[in-house]
Each structure stands twice: as C-alpha cells, then as structure tokens.
C-alpha cells in the first residue's frame, strides 16, 4: 500500500502542514494511511463474503458435511466452513447443537467451532491492511490448522458423554431451508451489497477507535519501548500473552490495529498474534455460554487444547520471522 502511504504523507505534511518528524505527524500520517486502506478492504471483502454466504448458507455447509463421505477431509472442510461463516457468540450454541443433531461427529463440530471466531472476513480485511498478505495468509493457515488439529484431538478423546444430556435429545424439524425461489443475480447482488455495507458500517467505528489507539502508540511510544518488557518475560512471553488474552473479550476488529503498533514498537509478531488469537478465540463470556451445552471436562479440554495450540503458533511465528 505504498500509494496510500505517499498520499497520507502528502496529506499530513503539505495539506495539514504537520511535520512528519513530530509525534503528532507520525500519528496523523499513520491514522490516514491505515484507516483508508482498511475501510476500502473491508467494503471489498464483506461484499465478496456476503455473496458467497448467500449461495452457501451454513445449513447447506452442514448438509455437505453430513451427506458426503469425506473420510479424513471432513476436519478440513469443517474448519474451512468455520472460516467463512461469520461468528457471533449468540449463535455458537445453536450451531453446536445443530451440527451434533445432524449427526456430525463431535470432533468435526469442534473444528468448525474453533476456526469460526479466529478467522472471519473482517479480521482478514484488517490484517491485509495492516500486515500485508504474507502474514495474513500465514494467520489464516495457522487458524485453520488449529481448528483441524484441535477438533481432531477433541474427537479422539471421545468426550461425547461430556456434552450436556439434553443436547442429544433435541430433534429439530426436518426442512428448515428457507431458501426461496431463484432470484436474478442482479437483485441478489443488490441484496448482498446492502448487507455488506451494513456490516462495514457497524464495524468502522471500532476500526477507527483501534486505529486511533494504534496511531497514538505509533507517534508517541518510543521504538523498542516494549523490548525491555518482553525480554524480562523472555521465553514465557507467549504463554503470558495467552493467559492475559483469554479473560479479555473482543472481536478481531478492535485488536488488530493495536497489535500492529505493538509489533512496530518491538513486540515479536508471534507473541502479539497469540495474544490476539487468545482474545478473539477464547473468552470467559464464551465459556459461560458454552457451559450450557458442555460439561466442565469437555469445556476444559476445549480451552486447554486451543490455548496450547495458540502458544505453539505463537512460538512458530516468533521463530520464522517474516
């Protein structure tokens, strides 16, 4: 996004007359470049995803998982479907029950459930904007791998009896497919575009808040400030980041711009990403909701395995250095 950077440079120094060397100048330049890039990407990607979801609603994805003999690849597909389905904590229980009730094995259901909050279109748009495509791709691969392995391990533990008993008794009505008659593509496009703009509009305030915090860190926190902090915690930085991240709850939207600034000021990428994954993927409110359908053992296994996976990813990202 060099074009955007030079535009932001010009706007800050020539149009607004703020020196790019000053803290204020750095903050303003960062804010302009990042917010425009992110908003453009956000609108673009939400459009693509709304369209995809119109043709592939979660009910269809579920039917695909139940009807086809997929052998080992079911974990992959469940994780992929989790990535393209938007996550909302109030839908996690209906999804969980809906999958199990359709006969999808517990492990495969978890592959979906683990990946869903970690990867979504908004997170991807933000990451592309602030980190570029290499880190974004690695993040997506890492998030999906975590879902696949986490789901696989939870499946191997045979924890079906730790699912709340009432879940197995639920029988939902057969055909819930509300997909009405075939609509012409132009009206589908109009409909999904409206949805995409409304998703973007809802998210933009949070993005801007995140970018402002990020911009302030950029402009006023000296480079290397966090080095001492991190070197003090040393090898344990990743687990600490995860432990700090789990009780916090936020979606990816607000966290990513802040993370980017932390990285720019010396926090290693892996440590920062594992913090983000812990904040987004695991949370106490989420645990309280899921407690309704899972017994303690299963909930603990779920959180334990995902937390461990996030730490492994954190160390890997710190190790490879991009």
């Amino acid at each position: 996004m060099t074009m955007m950077t030079s535009f932001a440079d010009w706007l800050t120094s020539s149009a607004l007359g703020i020196s790019l060397e000053s803290g204020l100048g750095k903050s303003v330049q960062y804010f302009i470049a990042d917010s425009i890039t992110i908003i453009l990407l956000l609108v673009l990607i939400t459009h693509a995803m709304s369209l995809l979801r119109y043709y592939l609603p979660v009910e269809k994805l579920r039917d695909f998982l139940t009807s086809k003999k997929l052998y080992g690849s079911s974990y992959f597909f469940a994780s992929l479907f989790g990535a393209i389905t938007p996550f909302c904590s109030c839908s996690s229980i209906p999804l969980f029950i809906g999958f199990l009730e359709a006969g999808i094995p517990l492990g495969i259901t978890f592959a979906f459930l683990i990946t869903s909050p970690l990867i979504n279109e908004v997170a991807v748009a933000l990451m592309l904007g602030v980190f570029g495509w290499k880190v974004t791709l690695l993040y997506v691969v890492a998030g999906m791998t975590l879902g696949i392995f986490g789901g696989f391990m939870l499946g191997k533990l045979h924890m079906e009896r730790y699912v709340a008993d009432f879940v197995w008794k639920i029988k939902s009505s057969e055909s819930s497919s509300q997909r009405k008659k075939k609509e012409p593509f132009s009206s589908v496009l109009r409909f999904t575009s409206k949805e995409a703009f409304s998703i973007s509009a809802k998210i933009i305030p949070y993005v801007l808040a995140g970018v402002i915090i990020g911009a302030l860190i950029h402009g006023y926190v000296p480079t290397g400030y966090f080095d001492t902090l991190i070197s003090r915690s040393g090898i344990f930085a990743v687990p600490i980041a995860v432990l700090v991240g789990v009780p916090l709850y936020s979606n990816a939207t607000g966290v990513i711009p802040i993370i980017e600034s932390l990285i720019a000021k010396g926090i290693p990428l892996g440590t920062a990403l594992s913090f983000m994954m812990a904040v987004v993927g695991l949370s106490l409110p989420e645990a309280l909701i899921l407690k309704k359908v899972m017994k303690w053992k299963l909930l603990a296994a779920f959180f334990g395995i995902v937390a461990l996976g996030i730490m492994v990813i954190g160390y890997l990202f710190n190790f490879i250095r991009i």
């Binding site: 979660v58 009910e59 029950i97 309704k292």
Partner: protein
C-alpha cells in the same frame, strides 16, 4: 398472526424484538409477539443463526437483525 423472535438474549435479538414491536405498532396490528429464549425450543425450528424470526410457525429469517421496514413487509405479506 403469531410472531416469535428466537434468540438467547444477545444484543441483536433484543434489537430485533424492538423492531418487530415498532413494525406492529406502525401497521396498527395486534399480532402476538413472543420471545423464545429456551434453547430446546429454538432448536425445534432448526435454525442455527440467531436472531431468527418465526411467523405462524414458519422461519422467515435467521442471522439477521431485520429493520423495522423489513419486518413490516414480512408481516403485511
């Protein structure tokens, strides 16, 4: 007719409930509106995205917070 809003009490579900109430008021109707928060009850409708809207036992929308005017066009159909 009977209108049901399915959802386990998330902010989106509450907003949909408000919109449904306003839509009914705008159209000067006296439909009964029920809020279904019990998960076993919700699952009977086979929906997986909350909030969902059920009109006369038929699921008409799921995973969307319909606007007042969208609800109006659904109930006047």
């Amino acid at each position: 007719m009977t209108i049901k809003v399915l959802g386990m009490g998330c902010p989106g579900c509450l907003r949909l409930m408000e919109n449904v109430k306003s839509a009914i008021k705008n159209q000067k109707r006296d439909d009964t509106v029920e809020k279904i928060t019990d998960i076993e009850e919700i699952m009977k409708y086979g929906v997986m995205h909350m909030p969902a809207l059920v009109i006369d036992e038929k699921v008409v929308s799921s995973g969307k917070i319909l606007s007042v005017s969208e609800v109006e066009s659904l109930i006047t159909k």
